[in-house]
């Protein structure tokens, strides 16, 4: 989706606001939103890509003005509604009115969340698929403009880059954010010159590196 979240490369967004000695959380509700999101994700109720997509559906004027964890709150409420685990009436009243909705789900235990916080949980997919590209290959990023979730940002589309390295096989976010079907494929780090992305005024030496799935690229002719 060509949403406001895809903001890389936009000008005039505003000055940096750098807070000295910033706390991890500014208010109590922020830590709750963070913890509730983490806990429901750890319970396997949804995939990270799904919640990222919901955040992308926040109307642009709200996206630019919400506090960071307000975006998370919006997405978590919407996720629980979409998954039919909580009703609108329950959210408005704060009272359990439909206990039967959540009976099929088990909360993530303290042991489970502790494990996830301290152990390597590779999200590699263990399937045997040949990579489409190898280090050194010249590629062109596809010009796609899907209405669904994607991790191919606009500033990269149609641009020419070079494969730097291969990371491994992951699930394509474009389908994983929407309940499948699973599309496991290779992910590569790809190098783009600043001039390819932004024109001849960009510094000659500079580059942007980004991680791209097989489906996001074509081989580029020389």
């Amino acid at each position: 989706m060509n949403g406001i979240h895809d903001i890389g490369g936009m000008d005039n967004i505003g000055p940096m606001n750098i807070e000295k000695d910033e706390p991890v959380f500014h208010e109590d509700w922020e830590k709750k939103v963070f913890g509730l999101t983490f806990a429901t994700l750890a319970a396997g109720i949804y995939a990270t890509d799904e919640v990222r997509y919901l955040t992308e559906t926040i109307p642009p004027q709200d996206y630019l003005t919400f506090k960071y964890y307000e975006k998370w709150l919006y997405s978590l409420e919407l996720m629980m509604l979409n998954k039919n685990l909580i009703t609108k009436e329950e959210l408005e009243s704060g009272k359990v009115l439909a206990p039967e909705l959540a009976t099929g789900v088990e909360a993530a235990t303290p042991e489970r969340v502790q494990y996830g916080m301290n152990n390597r949980l590779p999200v590699f997919v263990d399937v045997d698929i040949a990579p489409k590209f190898k280090a050194g290959d010249a590629i062109i990023a596809k010009n796609i403009n899907p209405l669904h979730h994607t991790r191919l940002p606009r500033y990269i589309r149609g641009k020419r880059g070079v494969i730097e390295m291969r990371h491994g096989i992951f699930l394509l976010p474009d389908t994983n954010a929407h309940g499948g079907p699973d599309k496991p494929q290779h992910v590569y780090n790809v190098k783009f010159s600043a001039r390819e992305l932004w024109g001849e005024d960009a510094p000659a030496a500079d580059h942007v590196h980004i991680d791209l799935f097989d489906d996001y690229m074509d081989q580029a002719g020389q």
Binding site: H5, D6, I7, G8, D11, I13, G14, P15, M16, N17, I18, E19, V24, E27, K31, K32, L36, F38, A39, T40, L64, E70, L73, E77, M80, L85, I86, L91, G94, V96, L101, V105, A107, A108, T109, P110, R112, Q114, M117, N118, N119, R120, L121, V123, R151, P153, Y155, H167, G168, F170, V187, N189, A194, W198, A205, D206, H207, V208, I210, D211
Partner: protein
């Protein structure tokens, strides 16, 4: 904040969070102890002090540095500095000729196990918009002026791989121990928005 003129002790957002929290717990979708453990971990346990230890070790142990740059996921897992949002790691070294900067233009991806949760500026739209478009101008806002013959490499962490910058060891730090070095490594230097200087 509420616009009505009755005395509301809690803001709209606070009320929504309270409602959501009690619903998720009462419905058995979230375990209270698990929730407390998550908050405690990210508020009190993980943070840039962990990444600083990794950097200090890399500065003093050439074999570790080589492993870290070759396969950061394995090197960090071996030190038990791993977990969600840090299972697939890549570490990039700053040199006299190369300056690395990490961003997530699409959301706020960040290497939690080694840096903790990101600061607001990292998650903000100005940072995300400018990092890939004008990194040198952005770095000036952090007080960094890079020479034109330094190559700026921006790492947009848009997939599941998380990036950490291995900063340059400052001049004058030759005699310092690993522990002393870990005290001078800053979060900003490990994101690429800062350099390390001795006081």
């Amino acid at each position: 904040m509420t616009e009505s003129n009755h005395r509301a002790p809690l803001s709209d957002v606070q009320l929504r969070v309270k409602a959501l929290e009690s619903l998720l717990i009462e419905k058995g979708l979230v375990n209270q102890q698990a929730l407390d453990a998550i908050i405690d971990n990210y508020e009190n346990k993980v943070g840039p002090h962990i990444g600083a230890k990794v950097v200090a070790r890399a500065w003093t142990d050439p074999d570790f540095k080589a492993t870290l740059l070759e396969d950061a996921s394995a090197a960090l897992a071996e030190m038990e500095y791993t977990g969600i949002e840090g299972s697939h790691m890549v570490v990039k070294e700053n040199t006299d000729k190369i300056h690395n900067l990490v961003v997530c233009t699409l959301c706020s991806c960040y290497p939690w196990p080694v840096l903790g949760l990101p600061p607001n500026w990292y998650k903000s739209t100005p940072f995300r918009a400018k990092a890939v478009r004008d990194p040198r101008g952005l770095l000036r806002e952090f007080g960094l002026e890079l020479s034109t013959d330094t190559e700026v490499r921006v790492w947009d962490s848009n997939a599941e791989i998380r990036y950490l910058v291995l900063p340059k060891r400052p001049a004058g730090a030759e005699g310092m121990s690993e522990e002393e070095l870990s005290k001078i490594v800053t979060r900003d230097a490990m994101v690429g928005t800062g350099l390390i200087a001795l006081q």
